[in-house]
Amino acid sequence: MSEPSPNNPAPAEDAESAPRPGRIRKPIGWSTIIIAGLVAVSAALVWRRDGTDGVLDILTHDLSLFGGILPRVLAGCLLGAFISEILPHERVSRSLGPKSGLMGLLIGTAFGAILPGGPFTAYPVASALLAVGADFGATIAMVVSWTLIGYGRAVAWEIPIMGTDFTLWRIVISLPLPVLAGALGRFVYVRLYPKPDAEDDET
């Protein structure tokens, strides 16, 4: 996937001439508003049940958690930014774009399965892939593969808690799911948003 391409200096020029599409959208969207509402209701319920102390307990615990997560979030953001800068865009849209077929879904699945780290790497990298030309189908295959057959969580948590037999068996059952989810995603996406990216077809 990330093999060096000495005979392909195009991405550098590309990166300077055309501004990269923003990967992270406006800070306040509907999802944020809905979550904020949900949080306010939950906090109010906690307050009614446990009083001010209960609310403050959770707040201090989560603030320390937040402090611990921040460096990893920074690393994830940098990883996503570097990857979207160094990946050759036209090659990504060829091998992971809407026209990439089964191969694109398989590449997305393989990429998700081998990606190191936790959610702080998976989602920034997935977002970077979307920005440089992967379609929803291949990106869904990647995210689903990371969460279902990625080795990171299985080795760190699932095997110690649920046992090796169950984990391996569960992973075998899950093997076809990323490709199927990606294929279903592509199938639905084309029908939901029928306008094709005509300018991509010409390249």
Binding site: A15, I24, S42, I140, W157
Partner: protein, 166 residues
């Protein structure tokens, strides 16, 4: 703790690796992506903050016992459907999710139901979606991904019913 240290080493090692590749493409490319990554970070911090603190409160009003209760030895497709909802509603991180799965397995829960629970937890656990996926990915993608994933815990349960126990 050593696992966390390993993750951090792997993570920053990867950042260093791709950073080096970007640097060899030329300092402007390197500086541009460094600035881009830092801006992403600054933009995302408020949303991560809302996710971390918010999911703590949501988790506090959905106690673990409620989830365990939903995962009774209910067999059949109704049990699978309950397991899927339970997986999505499970608060907390992987320790809690997998521990609930183990408890269900030991206390007589059906294997297909537990598989459906673990797969649904992996796909939809609300805390991961709120805390990580929505802040980092376009919201449209997240909702689309979740909607498209709905059949798959059921499919996993069906495969488990066909091929039998581990």
């Amino acid at each position: 703790m050593s696992a966390a240290l390993l993750i951090d080493i792997l993570l920053w090692g990867s950042v260093l690796g791709v950073g080096l590749i970007a640097f060899r493409r030329g300092p402007p490319v390197f500086k541009a992506s460094l600035r881009e990554g830092s801006m992403d970070f600054i933009n995302i911090v408020p949303r991560i903050a809302l996710g971390v603190i918010g999911s703590g409160y949501i988790a506090a009003i959905i106690p673990q016992e409620v989830i365990t209760g939903w995962l009774g030895p209910d067999s059949g497709w109704l049990g699978v459907a309950t397991a899927v909802v339970a997986g999505a509603a499970t608060p907390g991180g992987p320790v809690i999710g997998f521990s609930i799965g183990t408890v269900a397995l030991k206390s007589g829960g059906g294997v297909p139901q537990v598989v459906a629970y673990v797969v649904a937890w992996a796909l939809f656990a609300f805390q991961r979606v709120i805390l990580w996926e929505i802040p980092f990915m376009p919201a449209r993608f997240v909702w689309f991904r979740c909607a498209v994933s709905v059949p798959f815990p059921f499919l996993a349960a069906a495969i488990a019913m066909v091929i039998g126990k581990p």
